[in-house]
Amino acid sequence: MLEVNNIRAGYGEIEIIHGLSLTVNKGEIVSIVGPNGSGKSTFLKSIFSLVDIMDGQITFQNEILNNAATDEMIKKGLSFVPQTDNIFPSLTVHENLELGGYISRKKLKDRLDLVYDLFPPLLAKKKKRAGTLSGGQRQMVAFGRALIMKPKLLLLDEPTAGLAPMYIQLILDKVKAINETGVTILMVEQNAKKALEMSDRGYVLAAGVKKYEDSGRALLENEEVAQLFLGG
């Protein structure tokens, strides 16, 4: 579904990703893990054209994606949830979700209903300003906004970052639930163990290059990976 071939990416002149490749197959959950500063978020952003790609190629369903316009990517079926500042705080929960359907309002009502089904706590708060919600609920709003367009591939940048421990498992369970509705998931996650446990496949990055690539289970069982990156 998604093929990333040997890309170099970064900000301006500064290259952060030094030739990374990755594949995501339809229906999978794929995690990218690695220490802080390993470039995992930058890598995810490069797929959604949020950082400059200097070299290499990204294809999605056999179409070249390099530096595509955002609305084009959304139309093709990609959606991105940023790590922080991923809601519109002064807008209501409902307005946040509605804006997810900004580029096409066809069947918006049905799609809103689906999101409320997936995240029942949001229904009771639909008229509340999103900025007043708890961290976990904000994350649901962020997911919901990204899901309104029924994406084929959802890109999640550290979905549990900054969340209270009680919400971490809840949000990861939601990721699993979203995947079960048929959405393929590529996520960057700092809770490496938890992420790999639920992933079909995983990539371990360090300093902008790929160190390991295997099934989630195999990476968890790999002693070297465990010692170096999963805290023993």
């Binding site: 959604f48 609305d71 500042d85 705080p89 804006l99 900004y102």
Partner: protein
């Protein structure tokens, strides 16, 4: 006395609020204080003077044409100046806005001269209520009614339409708006356009209530910024509340201090707010 001051404050506050809505949206969306906003307001008022007094066209017609021309000027400023400075730091853009303000003001000065001008001839007899405690002219009643209509229209636009919601969203979080697929260029264009219409209307109201001078809008810039900061930068509803609060407190203050200190009240409120709650009454940072 209090009643009269309250009324005056309400009228003055409505004018500040109408100007402030555009100022706060531009601040929220483009991240800079638009120092030429007051002079756009002056431009609207002088264009209305041109059409109503010099060309003897009906006021409602002049009102609309002046609004459209001011909006076009705002869009032009964005196209030839602010858009070119995109990505520069906000101080650079702010100073260029001060430059634009000086150019507009001096063009007005060149075209119409420095003398006081009036949109309406003759003195209008006010309606008197409560044994003279409250005096209000028909023009003032019209300003109040039109302000309510404008604010309601802005509210409906911002809360019900796709473009309006996108405007609020972009003011909240520009990066996320882009990720969501919002056509940010289109939102920016209409933000300038709407700000132009609103600030021109505010200028015409001020001219109808008082008179025209080339500094009229510049003088209102400080109270407008105070209203924007009071209400929370980027929040159009905050600007409305802030505008009314500044307008009313400036007028009421004349009961206690000399009227010439009125502008200082806006300053004081702004500084107090920045010290106590910099995000404003209805600030977006929660």
């Amino acid at each position: 006395m209090v009643l009269q001051l309250l009324l005056n404050g309400l009228i003055y506050g409505s004018i500040i609020a109408l100007g402030g809505i555009g100022l706060t949206l531009i601040y929220g969306i483009l991240n800079f204080g638009h120092f030429a906003h007051g002079d756009l307001m002056t431009l609207g008022a002088y264009l209305a003077y041109l059409f109503t007094v010099q060309l003897a066209l009906p006021l409602p017609f002049s009102f609309v044409i002046a609004g459209l021309l001011t909006a076009a000027t705002a869009n032009l400023l964005d196209k030839i100046l602010y858009k070119k400075l995109e990505g520069r730091d906000s101080v650079t853009i702010m100073i260029s806005a001060v430059g634009a303000a000086l150019i507009i003001r001096n063009l007005i000065l060149m075209s119409w001269g420095p003398q006081l001008k009036f949109l309406e001839r003759g003195i209008e007899m006010p309606l008197v209520f409560f044994d003279g405690l409250l005096r209000i002219t028909r023009t003032q009643i019209m300003i109040l009614i039109l302000s309510v209509i404008f604010v309601t229209a802005v509210h409906l636009f911002l809360s019900k339409t796709k473009l309006g919601k996108a405007m609020r969203a972009m003011s909240d979080n520009t990066a996320l708006a882009k990720i969501t697929g919002i056509n940010t260029e289109r939102v920016i264009f209409w933000t300038w356009f709407m700000s132009g219409i609103l600030t021109s209307s505010a200028g015409i109201f001020l001219a109808m209530d008082t008179h025209l001078i080339p500094e009229m809008g510049w003088n209102l810039l400080l109270p407008m910024f105070a209203a924007v900061i009071l209400g929370g930068i980027g929040n159009p509803y905050g600007a409305i509340v802030g505008g009314l609060a500044i307008g009313i407190s400036q007028e009421i203050s004349t009961m206690f201090i000399a009227a010439s200190y009125k502008p200082a009240v806006a300053f004081a409120i702004m500084i107090l707010m920045l010290l106590v709650k910099p995000s404003g009454l209805m600030g977006k940072k929660v």
